[in-house]
Symmetry: D2
Subunit: 436 residues, 4 copies
């Protein structure tokens, strides 16, 4: 029996580009085969619990704008929320969802109570999932909203907070495993500092390294075969966060010997806030062997904070998907919409419009990316550009068979005087648009 | 015999705060002992060749504004430039200078010619240095101005460019060693990409790793005992540079096994462009064990490019020096003014005003930093904040003696429910100002 | 009888630079005469109600961290809040405070109820003020927190919201007048747009022009002789706000014929977010004849949102105060601390530490600014730089007595070929530091 | 007879979306009628002289990368440059070009000489234009590159510079008129300040106001019927420029009574640097009645300086063109590509690839914008949103027939309590994508 929240909104299905129905997919056709794989299996869309069912529409200068029947801090509301969530998953026909422990169930009087609440709702999920196509992409523990975490969870100056966080994560991993989650994510929004004046960075990095190792050890102990992922983000909510960007996380993983155990969940908006493009972060993670999953959204380039808007620019998303496809595509990861309505979009139907737009943007972008790969112009141009590195001499330099003075001698002997070659950026950008 | 460029500008010396002489040091008193060391030995000031003697005052929308008798692309001008440079070192009474190979001598018809030019001017330096107090803090090769490097030096798609750059660096390290340089720096302004569309990042990172290894191997081979340093910088002149920031460089060094061989030269403006504070980069490098030296300047926070202004804000510099002192201070590194005049500051005396201002700002900041250390309020507050981590239980967690489930059990058993404690940021900021 | 909130914190008084008491003024000596006026009369410090007594310490990723006995949505709590507020004013010995209507009293069931609540608390203020030195610098209506204003107040697509806002403002002006407020401020945080796609800018600008005119007309009607001020701010909370910066507000005032009726209240952080320096906004407002008052704080240059930190950098504040003094200083305006604690600063004493630091920073900056004026080096240099404009020929050009062709002819006839002169920026920056 | 620079590159013509020819238009079909007008007449494309024929490929860290046979500082090279320019106009089949006086001819020994040089090349243009379709969109004087302008042209502290600039502009307007230019543009890159410390803003604003008035007066005197336009830009190359953004220019024009005489030439990248979207600047200029023309390009959102890249994002350009079409489209203005190659794009063909990409992006965007207008969904939604303002009561408020107290009374009497309505941002964004 329906909660009635979405009223008469019908399931959203593929109707093609010419549809006049605002709540139809024009591009997302789950069964369409692209590069040998179904669209649904390429994109592995997930809907997040927090923005859709928990965020009240507030901003730093204004309070709640959304009025949802499930807003309230008790288990009855949490149960209603779960009902509505699964109704939305079905309307949108997505294969995955994601959650934080605190999204799905209210905090109790003690951690034990809170854990029980989480488990109870997880039990409801389990029943729902039995009859739904929607599976769990990943779970994560909210180690940032409660005031106990204001100075960090793993990196807190108080070891009791470290312990509390560890205990909370244990429960959340257990639940994620039970629900068949394909990944477990850690986002360290409070792991960092507000002012260096009260912070011992070396000490806090070691705390964070240990915490992550605890998680990895526990994963193996309980036989959870999902991927552990860290989600990089700079500067918000903490002035400086230790997981600033992909390169930073890589260095951290190397420092604590975790680079083969942990991957990254890359968010578009976080990449932008760190001064990078999203495709840079994807390509770098691939190059470093730590690419895991993505949080898809778009960030206002000029706002300076996490705006978490729905992706709407096909060209931008296509470029990122091109690099994801080049890396072999998703394995346990997927495309989670970490995106929220603007706070004036107060109608239930706005939730659906937003996801339809985001999903269609990604689906269309996938077709562009696939076309780029099939045409092969970009990859051929790339190969050609580095072709000279295939020579024996070049390989000798690269493999350490020549010393600096060997090379210097060779340059003088052979009178090497390299001539510049066009980088052809504009031509390559045109290629991208031809597939659009 | 003087070149006459600085006309009647007298040597700048310490005259104290009440001096009415605009070209006197009000704070920088080289022999003043601070925390047991002479000011000069703490700060190890260096003057750079490029901004002072090579930059013509141009910007992207306008040409040369400075008229210097040594501007010109031949060896006679280069010799005159060397004369003036040492005149300025003496006027300012600084213990160090720094240069790129292309700053001191013009490019020749071949690399061999260029190398000869560099060596000839280095010979002049050697004579000058015999009778001057000014020594060489570091040398570096310019692998970015010439069009041959437009697509990278070590990371160029053309292995001939890699070879050419390697040969150029060899000569520059040789010269640096001969001049008794205390460090050798690599700045990879063109190591990165303009567009991902024509870039294979994995391949380029490997090229860069090899290049740096070549330098380290060569250093050991020739017995150069200076420090090899990389200078992080994001986004300019290359859209994305591989040495983005300290954390990024650390990950890179770990990836290629160079973290014990290479340190970082941190520039204020580069830190700012990467979205960090300068003191963050210093403290992080210290925590990671790779702190080397600093390029002191200030960046307009709102310009988005490298403005390379002289440092003028005592409070900001004091905080950075506080962290440098906390790390044990400089060993082979120092404070190099990588700062340039505004392009309207066309008089010879402007060069001196600018350095006097910068030097006094740092000297005054050193006194503030020393006072902070002597009072000890900040370090005591810091220690107190983490005191609970000294307990056996906390250490057991940190040392890996407890698993995630051990900790979870302990939290439940002991009913751990941590209470937040004030971070006292405003009070700590006040402490900083009390020393100002 | 004290509420006991501040426990045993004694009144903060001037003790001089060498004081060991963290809660003493080291620089702020209200009766000290600077440039012929008492410090207190120069700086006209105000404490704001909202950040100190209403903000719970939340951020976009975490909830309340402050626990205040007066938090709660009823009149009893509002009364307690008023008590504590005046206790804080006395402890800090400041001459002014500021408030929004919704800060001081809870929203009622109807606007009439809300207005009554505001008036009741205002009555308490009136009694307090009879025996306190603290007066009202300005009042303002909160037209941004409630969801009814999510799409704007004056610029709302729904004229009922315009009407509601007008009625709310009327009550707030009435109250401000009754309390002897010296100014009335309008901050249009929701006046602007989230997306151009749903916005008719021409129409909304006219609505906003009319709204401001209504306020000005009403001021004259009731004989309120305070200054009406608009507070510029870009991009937050609304994607684009119509009152973007000082220049923008000036154009708006000119468009609606209000440039002689309305002035600007300039906030440091808002200047920074608009891409300007604070001193720019002050100097521009002075040049345009609309300088009114300031909201003093500091913004993290790298965060991209309104961080509202307490001012701590003496050099920066000194430069702004220099321009304020040059403009003749404050008349009805003053220095309102629109600054809030960091969310980890949860102790009552943190409120006092923060204000002491901010007040001392401004007081010390005032001394620097006054010293700059007394020495006169900056103003003499400025005068000299423009001296040639005093000639008859120059004045003829400036006064429109020569046409473009007259001038062209003169250039050719006289062979005018101007030679550049140094702008001396570094020397001028040194002068600033000599007074520090 | 061809100069041979573009070798065998054939004229670029429309071949449709499926063309395999990289140097064909896939979308730009000049004669295609869109909303009742030819594409060519809608878009009025112009090619700029400076980026294509003058810029050497340098950046702040590297010198020239382009090798062009016409580089050189004499009239012979200038003549060759003119030949190549018109060859490129023909290849690309564009209806307009734009230039600065210093782009087309070298500076002479005196202003008179420089003016003669400009006139001579203009004579060549005149002959070329007799047999070419390409006309002059606008001319402008370069008042920023020469060191004489380093401290401003109109706003220089030296009135001789003001006079010199005035004389230079006179010549440039004369030439623009003779060539049938449809507009004359002023870009004040040096009108502003580097440091407030040496700047008297009130004085400089008056100088700038007079200068602009001189231009307007002269236009009328000589009967030039083109439009005078100011081009807003913030922060580069001058730390603060007086023509910061559209709103700022509007206030300036109002201050000096020029708002009916002068319009704005809006550049995409300048809008971005000012913290706005391009479409905001277009829509605001339209709302204020000063929209003139556009400099089309794209700016890296994360670089902080003017990157002047070719437009490649259809969605972004479509939105701007939508607002331009809504404003009635161009009259004397047009779409000037103020865009340059990346400095690695050193081949002659790169110039053509870049323009083909930019032109096709705009042409495709025009089709999207036209489709949006023809469907009418956006405009209908907009109208509906403000419909309540059509009521008599609402109009009475807007027309000043009700006072603040009248309105307040009405709110109380009628119990007005407005209910929020969804802003539907995501739905409206979807509409935009349906036309893509």
């Amino acid at each position: 029996m329906s909660t009635g929240f979405f009223k008469d909104i019908a399931p959203v299905r593929y109707e093609g580009r010419e549809s006049e129905n605002p709540l139809a997919y024009r591009w997302y056709d789950p069964d369409r085969v692209v590069l040998g794989k179904r669209m649904e299996d390429h994109l592995r869309f997930a809907i997040c619990y927090w923005h859709n069912f928990c965020w009240p529409g507030g901003d730093p200068f204004g309070g709640q704008t959304f009025e949802r029947p499930w807003f309230g801090d008790d288990m009855d509301h949490a149960r209603l929320k779960a009902e509505v969530a699964f109704e939305m998953f079905e309307i949108l026909d997505v294969p995955f969802f994601c959650f934080h422990d605190r999204d799905i169930a209210p905090e109790g009087a003690s951690l034990a109570d809170s854990n029980r609440n989480v488990r109870e709702i997880a039990g409801i999920f389990q029943k729902k999932m039995a009859s739904s196509k929607t599976k769990l992409l990943w779970g994560t523990a909210n180690l940032f909203s409660n005031r106990r975490y204001m100075a960090g969870a793993a990196t807190n100056p108080d070891p009791d907070v470290f312990a509390y966080a560890a205990a909370q994560v244990k429960n959340c991993i257990d639940v994620t495993k039970e629900l068949g989650g394909e990944n477990y994510v850690l986002w360290g929004g409070r792991e960092g500092y507000e002012t260096l004046l009260n912070t011992d960075m070396a000490r806090e990095l070691d705390q964070l390294g240990r915490f992550l190792a605890l998680v990895v050890e526990y994963k193996h102990k309980i036989g959870f075969d999902g991927t552990i992922m860290v989600e990089p983000k700079p500067q918000e909510p903490t002035k400086h966060q230790y997981d600033f960007d992909v390169a930073n996380v890589y260095g951290f993983l190397k420092r604590y010997g975790l680079e083969n155990e942990v991957k990254v969940n890359i968010e578009v908006g976080h990449a932008v806030l760190a001064g990078h493009s999203f495709e840079h972060e994807v390509a770098l993670a691939t190059a470093l062997g730590i690419f895991g999953s993505v949080d898809m959204n778009r960030n206002d380039y000029q706002s300076g904070w996490d705006t978490d808007q729905f992706p709407m620019n096909v060209q931008e998303v296509a470029l990122a998907l091109y690099y994801i496809l080049q890396s072999g595509g998703f394995t346990t990861g997927g495309v989670n919409f970490d995106a929220k309505l603007r706070r004036q979009s107060i109608d239930p139907s706005d939730l659906i419009h937003a996801h339809v737009g985001g999903i269609d943007t990604c689906a269309r972008a996938l077709l562009v990316a696939a076309d780029l790969i099939e045409r092969g112009d970009l990859s051929k141009a790339l190969e050609g550009r580095y072709a000279k590195w295939g020579s024996n001499k070049a390989q000798a330099m690269l493999k350490g068979e020549m010393s600096l003075s060997d090379i210097a001698e060779m340059v003088e002997r052979e009178g090497i005087n390299p001539a510049p070659v066009s980088g052809r950026q504009e031509y390559l950008e045109n290629i991208l648009n031809w597939s659009l």
